[in-house]
Symmetry: C2
Subunit: 339 residues, 2 copies
């Protein structure tokens, strides 16, 4: 099943069921007004939503609306938790290598994860307003999942059942602010402004045999300023699968329904040391920082600039027939109007 | 005005207005069912809630209930954002000194702040369930504020107006997990399990002349296993006031209504190098770690143990007449029943 949150006068938007081909949708207020309401009571709401989805796909419903990504909030316009992993260790290795550092051996068996801000996500086709483009603005294309209630201490083998929805995310990062924040030791804060998620969140069964071993086995496509920038396969080189990430997050606390957990920037090694760019005939990257790292390792300094006001990023994933699964994140970086 | 969230069958509890002396309360469903609803529309709801508060204090209401802290959730049982500062730089200096490190000069003019988990707070008198007491369980007594919507880029001088509520917090920390997490560079995650907040949140005007310069000028009292452990003055040695912390959090993003921002562990130097314990005749500390640091500096190793299952912590603040302002956080550490 496919779900989205349509913009309305409220902070949480209006839950809609979207058909498989992303052409039609229908309000489901009688089941749940918002995505969070649906997730709060998922055992009760999901069979009803699934039934609507089947009828919608079978064209048995009246009162449908043409589906329009531009009317979407992020599936959870605000969430109670956004925890982002960094499961593609190649990404981490590359960033460290460029500054001459090795990654600790533990990074291969203990997931990296940070607590992200979740109070004010940006819509999937909304502008990304930022006060300055001197802060090293970067996109990060990732896969994310949404859980129901996960009890403290849940083991990886039991975590899979708590993964209820899958979506894509643009985890906007301010690279210029990261070194200073990490040096302070408290993790990211100002360097991780509001993220945006794909217009549509889908249940794992929608991915059929592309959802295996708690990973999504499809390319994640990033187009930067309307040119292909990366299409790494999200199922490859994902050192920690989503069940491991959920279990990591739940080690010392319960996770409440609607918790979003991200994969980290999708990155493939492709049999090379650090992967190769689209220009080099490879699958490219899911953020600008990685290209800059490759350039630094190769040339001694980066040549690709970070994003400036006016730059555009599109992130999407297609099934093996070329059909857009989640709708597209399509965003432009703009200067924030400060008060 | 004083507000609380009574436990009910829902995840967010039931908003109640509490009288000044914490003896009576009243449901206000006709104004807002939950604390978050009230905060989402604060300009509309707060005058109505204030009116109820005045009538409650004047004993003009029927339908009142005796107020009972044990029936309370944290004022926001789950929140969209919990960002914890570390504004008492003495605390940071002490922790670093014990391991032979100096703090960078920048710590005196750039606030430390981490993004905390906010999806599943513990009630103020509920047990703190954890899987192990081998992880260095510690309490941290702090002051916290709640904002309305804060636009990106808000300056400190404009941030004060966004501080709508004040409360106390027990920011539970797992000291044994912190070094490993900080070494990974992504900040706290597993080392910061669910926090608990005081039964009651109050508007700044309730503190009258004790709310000056965006700081609370009253002692924060911690009783550990029923003995006084600390009573440092929250208005002293707070290097960054709450307006500065709000502005820091809003540098690169909007903060949504209901954002909670913490002061960090309250700590006074008292004219000494690192403060002194209650036993030494000082105002003591607001967490066990600081006492252990003093012991380490003095004796070469710590002698006070971290919390074990069964240990008890009480955190509260009284006005100059000895009246409890926020109700008391009273919690016991217990072993979590893992599934």
């Amino acid at each position: 099943m496919k779900l989205a949150s349509y913009k309305n006068a409220s902070r949480d938007g209006q839950l809609v069921v979207v058909n498989k081909t992303l052409t039609q949708c229908v309000l489901v207020t009688e089941i749940a007004s918002t995505m969070q309401q649906a997730l709060d009571d998922w055992a009760q709401t999901s069979p009803k939503l699934e039934s609507v989805y089947q009828q919608l796909n079978a064209s048995k419903l009246t009162d449908t609306l043409p589906f329009d990504s531009k009317k979407c909030e992020s599936p959870l316009p605000r969430a109670y938790q956004w925890a982002d992993g960094s499961a593609y260790v190649n990404h981490v290795e590359l960033v460290r290598k460029a500054r001459g550092a090795e990654i600790p051996e533990s990074f291969w068996n203990d997931p990296l994860m940070y607590q992200g801000g979740s109070d004010d996500f940006i819509g999937p086709t909304d502008d990304v307003p930022l006060p300055s483009d001197k802060w090293g603005i970067d996109f990060e294309a990732e896969v994310a999942i949404v859980t129901d209630d996960v009890p403290m201490g849940t083991l990886p083998e039991n975590a899979r059942q708590h993964i209820k929805l899958i979506m894509l995310v643009n985890d906007v990062s301010l690279r210029g602010l990261i070194p200073g924040e990490l040096a302070k030791g408290f993790g990211f804060f100002q360097s991780k402004p509001a993220s945006a998620f794909s217009p549509v969140a889908v249940t794992p069964d929608e991915l059929a045999d592309k959802w295996v071993d708690n990973k999504v086995h499809l390319p994640l496509i990033s187009e930067y300023n309307h040119e292909l920038f990366g299409c790494p396969q999200a199922g490859i080189d994902m050192t920690f699968d989503f069940s491991q990430l959920v279990a990591h997050a739940a080690k010392s606390r319960n996770l409440s329904a609607g918790t979003i957990i991200g994969s980290g920037t999708v990155s493939n090694k492709q049999g090379t040391e650090y992967g190769t760019s689209i220009a080099e005939g490879g699958v490219g990257y899911s953020c600008i920082a990685e290209v800059r790292m490759i350039e630094t390792i190769r040339d001694g300094e980066p040549s690709t600039e970070f994003m400036k006001f006016g730059d555009h990023i599109k992130i999407e994933m297609k099934d093996e027939h070329g059909n857009n699964i989640f709708g597209s994140i399509e965003q432009q970086i703009v200067e924030a109007e400060l008060c």
